[in-house]
């Protein structure tokens, strides 16, 4: 059976190689797609697969999913598969360093620059994004969607009753904090451990600005310097306005959002999957039932994270994978996927092609995507490699247990050194 399959694959590959300048309906064989999109995100992936099968009816798509939010389990399974020589044809991975630092530097991904040039994607994707996808001149993955990490959510009714303006800078936020607390409302709600890390990256972006944030990863911002100490000091002040000392550890990010919706908390900082939760699950209308703004100090900056797919060099069905990737990056593919996922297309031409598919929040995010300064998210895999991401939990623990901004900043420098994630100047 296996031999027959292998022979079949070899033949299929040979055929596709022979038919140079292949038409898409010539493709046959299999295409195994590995992802962690099983639950709520399943339909979005299904829509892509359906579209792919319309274009390539002879290809059998194998949808291999491993459940677990943010790919925590899928990434471990993927590692054993790749090390064991059983690479899927294409796998989901956070675009940026999570792919580059683990798989591209390991020489296990194929360069897709030619595909980008053929498809005219060099102009379709923002240059800031391509910068983070590029490693030593090659581009190694195709982003399917974009989520924004630095969004502050609020309930317009609560903010109105408090009589405050939505803070645009960190100072404004910290100044508004005591009055909100006096009104018996939590100024900022956080949840379990990772949402605290998520908050940190928005605070850091607010303090350092886009350039300073990018500087951490290029070596221009000193990870132990005064600026980083300032980041942790501000972070401490922000946490003092939060429910961290109370019930935070027991709240999922949805439960934290629920508190904002219920008016028990004024603000929450969470990625824009929260918009999907509020519109789809809670049935709220963007701008009416819930409000949104860039996080304080980061107006005009878009901290992104992205799910992408690449081509492992060991993939058995390279031609099918290339067809899959061309669909993913295309306007059609992006518009089939993103409205269902509740994210915006990475391809800047997509929203204009079908604006009706996107709600008010997504349209505003898409507008920001094509106009703002773009920076990569740390917590969600764009900015730093997996070692740094893991070790960052230790930095956080040092800060939360000691309350010492200096200790946290020097630990930051230590993990920069260990992980090699902070540029060559270290």
């Amino acid at each position: 059976m296996k031999k027959a399959l292998a022979l079949f694959l070899v033949l299929a590959l040979a055929l596709t190689a022979v038919s140079a300048g292949f038409a898409q309906d010539d493709l046959s064989g299999e295409l195994e797609i590995f992802s962690w999109w099983a639950g709520d995100e399943g339909p979005a992936l299904e829509a892509l697969i359906t579209l792919f099968n319309e274009q390539n009816p002879n290809v059998e798509v194998i949808n291999a999913t491993v459940t677990g939010g943010s790919g925590v389990n899928a990434r471990a399974v993927l590692k054993t598969r790749m090390l064991g020589g059983d690479a899927p044809d294409s796998f989901q991975v956070h675009a940026g360093e999570e792919l580059t630092g683990t798989w591209v530097v390991a020489g296990r991904m194929a360069d897709l620059t030619t595909l980008y040039q053929e498809q005219g994607w060099m102009e379709a994707f923002p240059a800031d994004l391509l910068d983070l996808l590029t490693y030593e001149g090659g581009i190694y993955s195709v982003p399917v969607n974009i989520h924004r990490s630095n969004v502050m959510w609020y309930n317009p009714a609560t903010v109105e009753s408090l009589g405050i303006a939505v803070p645009a800078t960190m100072d404004e936020f910290l100044a508004a904090c005591p009055a909100i607390q006096e009104a018996g409302i939590t100024p900022l709600v956080v949840g379990e451990a990772w949402t605290v890390n998520h908050l940190w990256e928005s605070v850091a972006l607010g303090v350092l600005g886009a350039e300073g944030w990018n500087g951490i990863w290029t070596g221009e911002t000193d990870p132990a310097g005064a600026e980083m100490v300032q980041v942790f000091e501000t972070f401490g002040q922000v946490l003092a306005c939060s429910n961290l000392a109370e019930d935070a550890a027991g709240l999922s990010w949805q439960q934290a959002i629920d508190k904002v919706v219920a008016g028990e908390a004024a603000f929450n900082i969470m990625g824009d999957w929260a918009a999907g939760y509020m519109t789809t699950t809670l049935g709220l209308e963007p701008g009416v039932g819930f409000g949104y703004a860039p996080t304080p100090g980061a107006v005009g900056t878009f901290m992104w994270l992205s799910d992408s797919f690449g081509l492992p060099v060991d993939a058995a069905n390279q031609a099918n994978t290339l067809a899959w990737l061309s669909l993913l990056g295309s306007v059609d593919g992006q518009n089939a996927f993103n409205p269902l996922k509740g994210s915006i297309p990475a391809n800047v031409n997509a929203v204009a092609a079908a604006p009706d598919l996107y709600n008010a929040y997504l349209q505003s995010a898409a507008a920001d995507w094509s106009s703002n300064a773009l920076v990569g998210s740390l917590v969600h895999g764009a900015a730093a490699n997996e070692r740094f991401m893991g070790d960052f939990n230790q930095v956080m623990e040092i800060y939360l247990s000691s309350g010492s901004a200096e200790a946290a900043a020097s630990a930051m420098a230590a993990i920069c050194l260990q992980s090699g994630a902070c540029g060559s100047s270290m």
């Binding site: 020489g107 550890a249 230790q394």
Partner: protein, 381 residues
């Protein structure tokens, strides 16, 4: 006694298990030892750990000294401390609760079989299920914490089961060698007294004495040098103190809830094994009910207590699933070595470091299991 043919058949019958265990247990232990001595994953940029042609070179004990001394590896040391306290309270709790339940069931109550099943039932659940149930019950804003509010005027408990940072029995990591030295000296003293009293001479004892002395000296000398400058109050005031973390209480409750039925069943079997004549004889001699248990039944349960402690002890040293389900892999307050092996290995790709943590776990379990097996085998001869 056995014919040649019998021996051959027996060997052939055993061959498959020997081969499978040899490869999948001992082979992989050896491979893990080997990996723990390499630098696989130490330098993720210059030498990508997942590359097909990754260069793995031997670095000796570097991974071990890193996890013991490196400032950023304090999670590992916290996990050892957590394991110590978890084992202490989990094993102790299971033995006490199990004994108590067994004694209650021994009172020839109506519906004994029913209660036996009820108490044993949690053991049939997997640790993941137990962890999920208790995670819900120990939510800071619900579950057990709001129980008092069912009585008017009472406030909810504000205890943060999984995330409390309160610690008791605090100590500095740097005190550990000194403490271990005392333990070594105590063992030495105990053995010396024991052998002086028994008057026996055994060559083995000299080996043990020498080993303990050497270990003690080594611990006191070398560890003081290596550990003191790093994980001390001077180096890092905030992370150095270790202790029994309040966040572990919830995990211990869940674990005791699950496993105390098992110790109950063991004790009940032991109690039932005490001949009725002995009890009666004691009663005839004027022993009270309490006295019968204290002087007749309990002494005969000693071997069972030992077995229970060994079975529970190795479960607790290897605990992973319960903590993973209850507190998640990133909850620093409840970190245990098993979870670190997973996160270091499969999240951060630091395979050699993860292997060295796994080897330390294995040696901890071996400390419990090997003497037990050794005495068992010796008794069988």
């Amino acid at each position: 006694m056995y014919s040649q043919r019998d021996r051959a058949v027996a060997f052939l019958m055993l061959m498959p298990s020997i081969a499978l265990i040899g490869i999948f247990v001992y082979g992989f232990i050896l491979q893990t030892i080997n990996t723990s001595l390499l630098d696989w994953g130490t330098n993720p940029i210059a030498n990508p750990p997942l590359s097909a042609n990754v260069v793995k070179s031997y670095v000796g004990g570097a991974n071990y000294s890193a996890i013991m001394t490196d400032l950023l590896e304090f999670s590992f040391r916290n996990s050892l401390v957590n394991t110590f306290f978890f084992t202490l309270f989990f094993v102790g709790g299971c033995v006490l609760v199990g004994l108590f339940l067994a004694l209650l069931l021994d009172q020839k109550i109506v519906g004994e079989a029913f209660f036996r099943t009820v108490f044993l039932f949690p053991m049939s659940l997997s640790f993941v299920v137990t962890g999920t149930i208790w995670r819900w019950m120990l939510q800071p804003g619900g579950g057990i914490n709001i129980l008092p509010t069912f009585i008017p005027t009472l406030e909810p408990i504000m205890f943060k089961w999984m995330s409390s940072r309160q610690t008791w029995l605090g100590f500095e990591w740097a005190q550990v060698p000194t403490f271990l030295t005392y333990v070594g000296l105590a063992i030495l003293a105990f053995l010396a007294v024991n052998y002086a009293l028994s008057g026996k001479r055994s060559p083995l004892i000299y080996v043990i004495v020498a080993a303990v002395v050497l270990l003690t000296v080594w611990l006191a000398g070398w560890w003081d040098y290596v550990w003191l400058p790093l994980d001390t109050p001077e180096a890092e005031p905030s992370i150095a103190p270790k202790g029994f973390n309040a966040a572990l209480i919830g995990v211990i409750i869940a674990a005791v809830w699950q496993m105390s039925g098992y110790t109950m069943a063991m004790f009940l079997a032991g109690i039932r094994g005490v001949p009725e004549e002995m009890r009666e004889a004691a009663r005839v001699d004027g022993c009270s009910t309490f006295g019968v248990y204290r002087h007749v039944v309990l002494p005969q349960l000693n071997p069972i207590i030992l077995s229970a402690m060994i079975v529970l002890g190795h479960i607790s040293l290897k605990i992973f699933d319960l903590v993973f389900a209850m507190a998640g892999p990133d909850n620093a307050q409840t970190i245990v070595p098993g979870i670190l092996v997973y996160t270091e290995g499969f999240r951060e790709n630091a395979f050699s470091k993860a292997s060295s943590i796994a080897m330390i776990m294995l040696s901890l379990v071996a400390v419990i299991i090997v003497p037990y097996l050794w005495t068992q085998l010796r008794d069988e001869k």
